[in-house]
Symmetry: C2
Subunit: 257 residues, 2 copies
């Protein structure tokens, strides 16, 4: 019988505002058993870049990461946002340890090949070092992972936080009974985007296909759900899509086979 592990992914918006961050830290601290947090930080990166006169270029919702932008995200994700969360969790008795993919070689990635778009210093995950993470987790530590990886050749790489969460969940699935929670602005995947209470309680692969055909599920939710099914296929017990304020509670959309 594997021990339970809850992996929570929260976006930049939640960790960057004092009030929502405090709520998140309290809710996350209250989760029992093993846990791991993956955070974003895009808004702070955009803000710092703007103050430094560096233009933030996005293509398909992804940041084009030139050399200067890589420095900005390394500072913001790996430094400012990560350490604020770690210090905040420590204050609440959670033995947090901040990690990027470079630390202990936890996540190695390859620089995304240039096809139609040159994303610059963006990494596609190659390998998650599950054994090291498991040792930390079993030792009572709570990893707090920034959306940064490394290429094994000395360069950091900017990596999507949803992907970090999904790949980490998959890698840890053989070792733990993993629940992966993707937090976003809504209570769950909505049947009617204008009705915040129209949360779809469960989505199976067949439901997903139907919802996409009907246009119920569209935009950024499609890759999020594809990530979720990929995690389930790799042995993750369940994936939940919900609001950060619902962490540890009921509700949200459960993704399952």
């Amino acid at each position: 019988m594997k021990e339970k592990l809850t992996i929570i992914k929260v976006g930049g918006k939640i960790v960057e505002e004092e009030e929502t961050l405090h709520r998140l830290l309290a809710d996350f601290s209250a989760i029992g058993g093993h846990k791991l947090l993956v955070h974003g930080g895009g808004r702070s990166a955009t803000r710092l870049a703007a103050r430094l006169g560096i233009e933030s270029k996005m293509v398909n919702g992804r940041r084009i990461t030139d050399a200067e932008t890589l420095q900005v995200v390394t500072m913001v994700y790996g430094g400012l946002v990560n350490k604020n969360i770690v210090a905040g969790l420590q204050a609440r008795g959670v033995n947090a340890i901040g990690l990027t993919g470079a630390d202990m070689d936890v996540i190695r990635s390859v620089k995304r090949p240039v096809r139609e778009v040159d994303y610059g210093f963006v990494g596609d995950v190659e390998k998650v070092n599950a054994d090291f993470l498991a040792t930390l987790i079993r030792g009572g530590m709570v990893p707090v992972m920034a959306p940064l990886t490394h290429d094994g050749q000395g360069s950091m790489l900017n990596t999507n936080a949803d992907t970090i969460a999904g790949e980490t969940a998959k890698a840890l699935a053989p070792l733990f009974d993993v629940t992966l929670v993707y937090c976003f602005e809504k209570k769950g995947v909505l049947l009617d985007e204008n009705d915040d209470d129209s949360v779809i309680p469960v989505i199976t692969p067949q439901d997903f296909k139907n919802y996409v055909e009907q246009g119920v599920v569209q935009g950024g939710m499609i890759p999020k759900l594809e990530n979720s099914f990929s995690a389930i296929d790799a042995g993750v017990t369940q994936v939940i899509i919900t609001q950060a304020s619902a962490i540890g509670g009921e509700g949200g959309t459960i993704i399952r086979k």
Copy 2:
């Protein structure tokens, strides 16, 4: 018989220039046995602060750390400088893990009380969690420590890198046979400041007293030597003051009882 541990402290100047950083990474990688690196980053912090229009105020060589400056140093020390070093060491086969004092509660400090000067968010080290560090080190990890601590109440604190190195060496002295190496610009403590080859090979407490009286040792070297003797008194085997380019080689000034 305790295992050997080498703790190297390097200043900002060395880790901030591409060329000296590469040399340091190569030299540090070549050191055999257990090791730990403590780095500064003050010049980068000053540079980023200037670009953001934040004035860097120094008193007695120490940075006055207001709330905005704390954000800058958390980004620069904990993010940019730390992760560049970690990724660089990983590329050389060293299993580095970047840490601030908040991570795993490794170094807890208290905000410096306001006396003549209000240093702001500056921490005086209260407790180093030697057991956690020892577990990592014995597990083959190489801690790379940024000059940041936390107060246990959710706030990061800016902390002098020499102090981090000294306090970490002291805390680990009961568990390892510790050599602490302070790297600075010169080959060692000089008898004649105008002659770079006039390195004093050994300084005992009595020598120190004499050199201070004679004015041979002055300025920033005095607290560095005081830190060194304090480390020796706490059980650190030896302290060496030398150039980064001499790491792992001969030379420098040895501080001993």
